[in-house]
């Protein structure tokens, strides 16, 4: 009986240490929380050929904030967690002349419980994109925008592709 008891005590001890050391109050970086919208760039002439940009600047209109200012191959930008619309100005510079496309993204939002550490995450559905560029005053550079996946719940693959 004492042998059983001894191993039992050891087991309890190990279990307590294990529980005490499980740091699940910190949201792990591997956990998928609120996703960003992933955008890829492709050639508008030859379908399916990626066409990265040497430099791209993306500005959020609602909050007047720059969210991207770098070369762009496949990029991800945030969608607002507070509104069902995020509007972005995509600007490239060619021979010192700026070209801008303004895209308006509309979507529905769902708040989903993840865990005690991460709380809630956002899931975006019914993603739609509309080109609202002011073509009269500013020249544009992109030709088409296509929705590849209207549900934004992870960042594994592109949701949007811009053809130029």
């Amino acid at each position: 009986m004492y042998k059983v008891l001894k191993s039992f005590v050891v087991l309890l001890f190990v279990a307590t240490i294990y529980a005490a050391c499980t740091a699940d109050d910190i949201c792990s970086e591997e956990t998928q929380t609120t996703p960003k919208m992933v955008i890829s760039f492709a050639d508008h002439m030859i379908s399916g050929v990626a066409k990265p940009l040497n430099h791209l600047k993306i500005r959020n209109i609602e909050y007047d904030t720059i969210v991207w200012d770098a070369p762009a191959d496949t990029i991800s930008i945030p969608l607002s967690t507070e509104m069902n619309r995020s509007t972005y100005a995509f600007t490239i510079v060619k021979e010192e002349i700026p070209y801008t496309n303004i895209y308006q993204f509309d979507y529905n939002r769902e708040e989903i419980y993840v865990s005690r550490a991460c709380g809630y995450k956002m899931r975006y559905t019914n993603l739609m994109a509309e080109d609202i560029s002011n073509t009269d005053s500013i020249p544009t550079w992109a030709k088409f925008i296509t929705i590849l996946n209207p549900i934004v719940e992870d960042e594994k693959s592109a949701h949007i592709t811009i053809l130029h």
Binding site: L12, A15, A19, E29, T34, Y63, T65, T81, E82, Y120
Partner: protein, 234 residues
């Protein structure tokens, strides 16, 4: 709390080995005098819960606990309690409130010397907790900090939640004065079934304590102060 728990464990282990040595010493004793042991109902409360209630603003708890001796080594034990807990973390704020009941058996592994009535015991319990959670507010978790994310004030109550669990205890009980016992024990438990609130989780269950995201295990501890109402001696 976790550090205290580990410390408590070490102390109880230390105490355990000491008492063990004592017990081996008396094994060679061949005394034939029969010592009669008291049998009866032991009732009391968890003074650890009372202390936490007094110290912490986030916790309110009370319990009634007791046991009945059924043989030289075995006791039937039970506990009934009520707890309120405030969950205040960066991304989640909630209130949990409810009652629990635990019942099971304790085995006293300690051979008492003469008329001593101390215990080093292991116990098994079945536990049931019935409670409600109120999600007060939360902030959507967003690793991107460029666009602002506001706190949502929701005040949503999730009623009729319950959790069943099994629990192992390891502890000591010492008779401080005649018939008055102070005990301390640690608990390791595993949830066997729980209600899943819609688009929310069980953060804490009264009696079970906090849950863990990636396992069904839980831990706890208790300081019991009990009084023995003697019924007969055997």
């Amino acid at each position: 709390m976790r550090k205290a728990l580990i410390l408590l464990f070490c102390i109880s282990l230390f105490g355990y080995t000491n008492l063990w040595a004592q017990e081996e010493d008396i094994a060679i004793d061949t005394d034939t005098i029969q010592i009669k042991k008291p049998y009866g109902l032991r009732v009391g409360t968890d003074i650890g819960k009372l202390a936490r209630t007094a110290i912490s603003d986030d916790y309110h708890g009370f319990s009634l606990l007791g046991d009945i001796r059924i043989s030289n080594k075995f006791y039937i034990a039970a506990e009934f309690g009520n707890e309120k807990k405030k969950w205040d973390k960066d991304y989640l704020h909630a209130d949990i409130e409810g009652s629990y009941f635990k019942a099971g058996i304790d085995y006293n592994a300690y051979n008492n010397w003469l008329d001593m009535n101390n215990a080093i015991y292991v116990g098994f319990r079945y536990g049931y907790s019935s409670f409600k959670e109120t999600l007060l507010s939360y902030r959507v978790y967003n690793t991107d900090k460029i666009l602002p994310t506001e706190i949502r004030e929701v005040n949503e109550t999730f009623d009729n939640l319950n959790l069943h669990w099994i629990e192992f205890q390891f502890g000591v009980k010492a008779e401080l004065f005649k018939n008055l016992f102070l005990g301390l024990h640690v608990e390791v438990k595993a949830s066997i079934s729980e209600t899943q609130p819609d688009n929310f989780g069980i953060l804490y269950a009264p009696g079970f304590n906090r849950t863990y995201d990636n396992s069904s295990f839980g831990v706890g501890y208790g300081y019991s102060l009990t009084y023995l109402i003697p019924i007969f001696k055997k």
